[in-house]
């Protein structure tokens, strides 16, 4: 259980490292993906319960709702992570397409060499 949080924070730290220190757009974008995955793992772990059941109420569980609630995992983080994954797909797709355009214009993926804008 605690292990999850450690891994999540490691992923976040790794993602941040990639994002801030790498000098290649593709690596930066991968860093972004790793960073958000770390956050997703963190969120999912918040609602996780070892041996819990899925939070879908059906059949005989209606008769024993408090017992069900004591067993089920928290469904909200799952919903959040699902939403967030979709959002991140959009961002990654946009980022990669921009990286393609950047490569066409500058013939490099090194962001520090893209310096038309300054002042």
């Amino acid at each position: 259980m605690d292990f999850n949080y450690v891994i999540a924070m490691l992923l976040v730290a790794l993602g941040l490292y990639c994002l801030l220190l790498k000098r290649n757009l593709i690596k930066i974008i991968i860093g972004l993906a790793v960073l958000t995955d770390g956050i997703h793992l963190f969120l999912i772990s918040l609602g996780y319960r070892a041996g819990g059941t899925a939070a879908i109420v059906s059949g005989e569980m209606f008769s024993n709702l408090p017992g069900f609630a004591a067993q089920a995992v928290d469904p909200i983080p799952q919903a959040l992570v699902l939403t967030s994954i979709v959002i991140n797909i959009c961002i990654l797709a946009l980022a990669l397409s921009l990286a393609i355009y950047a490569y066409r214009h500058y013939k490099t993926l090194n962001p520090s060499k893209m310096r038309r804008l300054r002042g």
Binding site: L16, L35, I39, F42, L94, A95, H105, P111, L117, G119
Partner: protein
């Protein structure tokens, strides 16, 4: 409703675009986009009467009562931001009619513009913190795409910088939300606030986890509003974006960022904890932004840096935490949105006619484009805080608030920076509009009417708010009430809490 209309409009725009092309009325989608934004504006104005009366409107999505269901809660702060956003996006759409006419892919342009509006409205009105994140991302993604819209060298560069820094910021916000959810078990802003208050009183101090979450939020939203030291993307993005987009970003998304920062920090964490942080960051942002604006050679970059500097004023004033300070900060936020988008639109008019925004290449345009020069001067003087324009009223309030709160030195620094602002705006005005005419600009004409109209509306607002500041104060007072007294909001959203 005010969120649904632009969102639905955004999804319908490509359809209207295709239909319009087939029926040989390619302008139809422009008018469609305009109709959607005007509809949004009318909806917000309609809500204004009851919210300004002190009510808080709560919509429960799907009929689930908060704190379990997702809800939209429209209070004074949300309404103020929503009003600014709806007004500016309407004017920017009108402006885009002519400005963007030569571009291709205008269907996408208006789609993204409406999505941006929907995202901004959502952030302003939502009462659910994860919902706020989702709308924030909608707003962010459409603004990345709009910055890259021309796909030229500089717009791709500006967009990619903006995207990477911006998504880092939104990731921080998500992590902050996760921490808050972990410590309170709820996502409703009002509910989080009341539960955190309980945690604080039972443990006697603020737990470390809330401090980390607050830091994450401040960094995340700070990136969006271009707070120094997170400002590096902003001048690039503003310079690279088409001018109407720069205007909507300076007048819309930046304001929405401030609104979201205030909502999260003031409602959830409370003023005493956030105040010194905002004062410090605001001071640095204000001073450095102004000095960086002083040395810029590109008109749009100059405006971008001065926008950063004005954000500093807003944060500083609100950070004071007194009623007067909050009032001044919010009023300045309203004014800043008006004159900053006015200035960006005026620069857009220059770019439209002259095809450059570099200060040293421009000169003597005043005689050729008198109306543009006039509105630019109004915007510049308002920005510098000269009477009788609106910037004067709000800056004066900020100075008074500083003295009132016992920090006369802050007022002094703010006044000095105001003089610096006047210096760089006057320098820009003289360089661009006065001076000898260069031969290249012999055939330059005044900007087309549909571009002048939005600028004149904004300039008129500058003058009206400057002459009658009571109007502005009465618009920001409900927002000030809400920030000073979040418990009424909590009570309104969750009855019995």
């Amino acid at each position: 409703m005010a969120v649904v209309v632009p969102l639905a409009g955004a999804f319908l725009t490509p359809l209207v675009d295709v239909l319009a092309k087939r029926m040989n009325h390619p302008r139809a989608r422009d008018y469609f986009a305009l109709a959607v934004t005007v509809g949004t504006l009318l909806l917000v104005v309609d809500m204004a009467t009851s919210v300004l009366g002190g009510d808080i409107l709560v919509y429960k999505l799907g009929g689930w009562a908060p704190p379990l269901g997702i809800n939209l809660a429209i209070d004074g702060l949300g309404l103020l931001v929503g009003l600014i956003v709806a007004g500016i996006s309407t004017l920017v759409v009108i402006y885009s009619f002519v400005f963007m006419r030569q571009e291709s892919g205008l269907g996408q342009y208006y789609t993204l513009m409406l999505l941006l509006t929907a995202g901004m409205m959502g952030v302003a009105f939502t009462g659910d913190i994860f919902n706020l994140y989702v709308f924030f991302e909608i707003m962010a993604i459409s603004s990345y795409a709009l910055v890259a819209f021309r796909r030229s060298k500089i717009s791709i560069e500006g967009a990619i910088k903006y995207l990477i820094v911006g998504s880092l910021g939104t990731s921080f916000i998500l992590l902050g939300i996760a921490l808050l959810y972990g410590s309170t078990g709820t996502l409703n802003i009002a509910d989080i606030a009341s539960k955190l208050a309980v945690i604080n009183t039972t443990s006697g101090s603020t737990p470390l986890i809330s401090i980390i979450a607050l830091t994450l939020f401040v960094v995340g939203f700070g990136i969006k509003i271009g707070m120094i030291p997170f400002h590096a993307w902003l001048p690039d993005a503003y310079q690279a974006a088409p001018s109407p987009i720069s205007a909507i970003m300076a007048g819309g998304t930046a304001i929405v960022g401030v609104g979201a920062l205030l909502r999260v920090s003031y409602f959830i964490f409370g003023a005493p904890m956030v105040g010194p942080l905002l004062i410090g960051l605001g001071l640095v942002t204000m001073v450095l932004g102004a000095f960086m604006a002083l040395v810029q050679r590109d008109l749009k970059r100059l405006l971008a840096y001065s926008g950063i500097s004005q954000m500093g004023y807003i944060l500083l004033s609100i950070g004071l935490g007194t009623a007067l300070g909050i009032k001044g900060g919010l009023f300045h936020m309203l004014n800043n949105a008006v004159y900053k988008s006015l200035l960006f639109l005026a620069v857009g008019a220059i770019i439209y006619r002259v095809k450059t925004s570099r200060i040293d290449e421009l000169g003597g345009l005043g005689r050729k484009m008198p109306i543009t020069a006039g509105v630019f001067l109004v915007g510049a003087l308002a920005l510098a805080g000269m009477p009788p324009f609106n910037g004067f009223a709000s800056k004066l309030t900020i100075f008074l608030a500083g003295i009132d709160a016992g920090y006369p030195i802050l007022s002094g620094i703010a006044a000095i920076i105001s003089v610096v602002t006047l210096a760089y705006m006057i320098r820009a005005f003289i360089a661009v509009f006065l001076g000898p005419q260069t031969g290249r600009f012999e055939n330059v004409k005044e900007a087309p009417r549909s571009m002048l109209f939005p600028m004149m509306v904004l300039a008129a607002v500058c003058v009206v708010l400057g002459v009658l500041p009571q109007l502005g104060f009465s618009a920001v007072e409900p927002a000030q009430e809400v920030l000073l007294n979040p418990s009424s909001y909590i009570g309104e959203v969750i009855p019995g809490a």
